[in-house]
Each structure stands twice: as structure tokens, then as C-alpha cells.
Symmetry: C2
Subunit: 135 residues, 2 copies
């Protein structure tokens, strides 16, 4: 490569890296944020009913569409060791990440969230929520 | 750019993208994985002691160094609404993400984790663990 083309290459390579940086922005943006984590555990009225669990999980999946949700993890108890401190009696777990408290509040008030409660709250007998914020 | 240099540029640009893909690998890799989430809530013996809380949080931060930990969130109760379903009586929360159950097990058995328990278990009076796996 001659000097002129080398310069062109460096310029184009620069554009390529700029492109990568732009697409990584949502990750970088949050680096200095204090992430808010909203963890909800659900105990079904009929824990043996696969149909009820599927309905709850389908309902939880609709929550992905709420714009202020940064990340959502929907799970069931994992088959880790059995230890007295591990509570694996729940039916489903929902872990939501938000960039701040205002976005968590917007999620609570969102029509999709309200619809989920309307459609699914008859399925569970108990819910525990842990809201935490990064230190 | 002449044809030869254009070819060189394309080859080098290819290497650059290969480089980006390699560094993004840990993210891409997990897309089809069923993430395992290990959530531990700690209740301190002396919940009013900032010193004890700081010591626990410093201990939790050492866990970041364990290679199989994909992501760690260390938090305290967030000032969301007060609702009967929200439990904000705990002192600290630790949420760990793993790519699979084997990596979670490796974390449990890791010397850094054992050292943390040795140094900090005297601080807490209660621990609850929820282990879940993505559906």
C-alpha cells in the first residue's frame, strides 16, 4: 500500500470502528448508571399445572415490549444443589433491569404491564418482589 | 485506490471485523444459551452498621474476579414504592449471571468464593438464594 492509500485505509478503518462504537452505545451508555433491578417471584395456585405456568410465562414475555425495560430474564427454578438457603418452591421468576427508578415506575404504570396483571394475577397465590439498586 | 490495494483493504477490513467479532464473542455466544441466574439476598446481624455493610459489599466485589461469572450486580434496596409484596428488609443483594449450571458450580467451588464466605459469613444472620434458569 502506498502512502496515499495507507491514509485512505486508515480513514476508512476509522469509520469502521466508529460504526462499531455507535452500535455498542447502549452498553457504554449504562456504564456509569446505577442499574435498578426488579426481581419478582411467583408462586402459582396450581404449581403442578403446566398450562398455568405456560400462561404465566407467555404473559411475562409480553413485558419485553415495554420501552423502558433494559433487559428481562424470565426463568424457572434451576437444578442447582439442594441447600436449606436455596428457595426453589416458586414457579416462575422475572428479573427486569432498568436504567433508573423513573423507568421502573414507567414500567409499573404501562398499559402492557397492567394488562399482564389483569390477565395473569388469578394464576398466582403469592408474589415476592425485591427491588435493588447498584452500589 | 487501485485494484490491488482495494483487495488489500478488503482483506484488512475483513481482519478488523473478525477482530470485532472476536471481542463481541462473549455476548454473541450466549444468545442461544439458557442463562442461569443466582440471586442471593443478605440480612446483616447488625443492619444499622454501615461498616458491616461496607465490608460485605467489598467482599461481594471480590467475586467479580471469578472467571465463570458472566455478569454481577451488587445492590441495596431501591427506593421504589412501598407495597406489601415488596421485601426491602434485606441489607444487600448479589445477582450473578452464568452461561450454564457447570459455570455456576465452578463459582461455588472457587477459592475466591470460599474466601468470601470465610471472611464475611459472620456478618449475616440470614441468606436466601433463588437460582433460576431462562425459559
Amino acid at each position: 500500500m502506498n502512502k496515499q492509500n495507507r491514509r485512505k485505509f486508515i480513514a476508512m478503518a476509522g469509520l469502521l470502528s466508529a460504526g462499531s462504537a455507535a452500535s455498542a452505545f447502549p452498553f457504554n451508555k449504562a456504564k456509569n448508571k446505577r442499574i435498578v433491578i426488579h426481581h419478582v417471584l411467583f408462586w402459582l395456585k396450581n404449581p403442578g399445572s403446566k398450562e398455568n405456568l405456560d400462561k404465566l410465562i407467555a404473559g411475562l414475555k409480553t413485558l419485553r415490549k415495554i420501552e423502558t425495560v433494559r433487559k428481562i430474564y424470565i426463568g424457572v427454578p434451576a437444578s442447582t444443589e439442594i441447600r436449606p438457603v436455596i428457595d426453589s418452591t416458586y414457579s416462575a421468576s422475572e428479573i427486569l433491569l432498568f436504567d433508573d427508578l423513573a423507568r421502573q415506575k414507567a414500567y409499573q404504570d404501562h398499559p402492557i404491564h397492567k394488562k399482564f396483571i389483569e390477565n395473569c394475577s388469578g394464576l398466582w397465590e403469592k408474589v415476592i418482589v425485591y427491588d435493588s439498586i447498584d452500589v
